[in-house]
Symmetry: C2
């Protein structure tokens, strides 16, 4: 009785890793969790306090479908303060997480049989939103030589009659790669030349190390930009994100949001208002700096252990490493074998690349540095033991 | 650049009513709001307090995709205590509102080109969830003679090769009609005979007046039941609901929930745990009794004013009245004309039936008794003036 699309949706391999990790923990094992894409910090106190205050004011009703006006204004102000961009609050669509934005965008833009171009490896859910609307992802395989990102040439080469647009992510999951302004311009020009739509997943925006972060809105005022309070702002469980959309898309987005969500969670919306206060930003920047320090520890350690990381990721909290050389030595068959063996015998939980890439994921592993530095050092030691065997 | 489905989604007429009502309020007019399907009460204090306590405990991370185990257990207990049903907590899927459940259900069951049968008039969003997955609603026009509900005979008459199942609502929006156990049995048997799926929208469950409420699960253990914390439990803005699904559907639902939502809002889940405490249930039942008293006032008043309400609605907080006799007198052209005129000149905001029925909605109006009794009496006086003109 299941619809055909259900069988086509793969189970996340990371869930099997997590389940096994929890079972081992229940047996008393000390497991180091580097598999989940969630900050290990709770939401910062000023945001929690704003959520509590909102509940104390009994703000429990539906809000406007596109979000409370104060939050849309605050997000617009953030683009001004952080990116020098003038974005009308009318163009900000508050959503139930970036997940909600991905659904809205897919429903708004993609007819059945049409596609969005994106790289392989990618965030695995992107293609499922397209499947829901009977569209599809059109994957372009990329490697470290393309810094795991699209470019104008690749877009030109792969564009098809049924391609609606291009979905890029910067910083990207699982690779941590950040698009420079030049790269964004190259991509935007290629999409525009084909009358396509540029969609940018910027949910890890703010989590960049050493470089300035750029928004696709700096190079394409008509881009659809998807963002989230989950990552830099640390509000995962609240389920609150947003999209910036061009004017022509807003009536359609409002109709879709009314029908699909009614509204985004009210407490999360009022709490998120506190995310932009200077004291909050200072705390969030401290956390970003902590991620930067962790990244340096993990990156240096993995390289020392001979993990193949051709281009250093500059954002998000992931390192995507090629383990082909370990596979070649005959020690592990593939990345899933590697991940389950490392978990089982050394207590380090990682995500196999097969969650992100059906083509090349068999020899990639994603490390999430959502552990304090001491934990990372412990994990590196355990990995050293595994590899030395 | 918009996908074809977007144009097919109608704007809610009630939004135009609301916008105009707000504009009139801004001019200083006293508007009586009977147009929105939201209780006029804030969430009860024990639930708010549980939300605050959860935030104080810093519970801000993602939860399991299908919901926190305690909440799934609490919902299972509710079926036992209130309906005498043994439902395994494994069959409870916590969702971001009933909206989330409708999306999951549509994606799980309906291929492109397939349909779910439902009555006209219906909750307008149902058909849009089906449109998103490139399926469709198959509307069966019903009137007061069918008590605005399907029955076995109608199902048999309208069943098509592409019909996947039947979606019923009890209590129903906009009609307030409640299905008896006999009616449910008749419907379930007709669906089963055609190897279809029975889906029951029970989001107004608990808001019934004078009759016992029945769940579709009492007559069909394999039914998909969609429910919500928004209505009886009064948690609209929190965005939290649930679905009861048969065992065979659970792996698919888990994959879909992981991909489409990651998880439901965490604070809402912990807060909802408090909804089942005896002190909460006592408060909620007081509110239900208040709705019952309002219903009696409004129903008697509308009948006195000669609104055509052939069968008295026994649930939800709506009265769906036929205004054909007023139209016949030449005073108003149709229900939209009626609603905007009554709003403009008498300050009562109502929903035209066209939001619920493209076929017959032109001579129906929905009244929501989400006003205290004094407000209802005021509205009835204003309506009396309008009709007496």
């Amino acid at each position: 009785m299941l619809a055909d699309r259900v069988d086509k949706i793969a189970t996340f391999r990371v869930m099997a890793v997590m389940d096994r990790a929890k079972a081992l923990q229940a047996e008393g094992r000390h497991i180091l969790h580097m598999e989940v894409g969630e900050p290990d910090f709770a939401t910062i106190q000023p945001i929690i306090d704003a959520g509590i205050a909102s509940l104390q004011r009994q703000q429990t009703g539906y809000t406007q479908a596109l979000g409370i006006p104060e939050l849309r204004q605050a997000i617009a102000n953030y683009y001004k303060s952080d990116y020098g961009l003038e974005i009308s609050p009318a163009r900000i669509v508050v959503t139930p997480g970036a997940s909600g934005a991905l659904l809205l965008m897919s429903a708004l833009l993609v007819n059945q049989g049409q596609t969005l171009m994106m790289v392989d490896p990618s965030y695995p859910c992107n293609q499922q939103f397209l499947r829901i609307v009977e569209g599809a992802a059109q994957f372009v395989p990329v490697g470290s030589e393309q810094r795991y990102q699209l470019n104008g040439e690749l877009i030109g080469k792969h564009w098809q009659a049924n391609t609606v647009g291009v979905l890029v992510a910067s910083p990207a999951n699982p690779t941590g790669e950040v698009l420079s302004k030049l790269q964004l311009q190259d991509i935007a020009a290629a999409v525009k030349a084909r009358n396509g739509v540029l969609i940018a997943d910027e949910i890890y925006q703010g989590l960049v190390y050493g470089e300035r972060c750029h928004s696709a809105l700096e190079v394409d005022a008509e881009a659809f930009v998807i963002n989230s309070f989950s990552k830099y702002f640390g509000m995962t469980g609240w389920r609150i994100g947003w999209m910036v959309a061009p004017d022509w898309a807003l009536p359609g987005l409002e109709k879709l949001a009314q029908n699909l969500f009614i509204s985004s969670p009210v407490t999360a919306q009022h709490a998120a208002l506190a995310a932009f206060a200077p004291e909050s930003r200072a705390l969030l920047d401290q956390r970003r700096d902590a991620f930067a320090a962790r990244r340096n520890v993990l990156l240096a350690g993995l390289k020392e252990l001979d993990f193949d990381i051709a281009h250093e990721p500059m954002g998000a909290y992931y390192i995507y490493a090629d383990i082909q050389r370990f596979i070649d030595r005959g020690r592990w068959r593939n990345s899933e074998d590697f991940c389950f063996d490392i978990l089982e015998r050394f207590g380090v939980a990682l995500t196999p690349g097969t969650d992100f890439s059906p083509t090349e994921g068999g020899h990639f592993v994603r490390f999430a540095y959502t552990l304090p530095e001491a934990g990372l050092r412990d994990a590196l030691q355990r990995l050293a033991s595994a590899i030395a065997e």
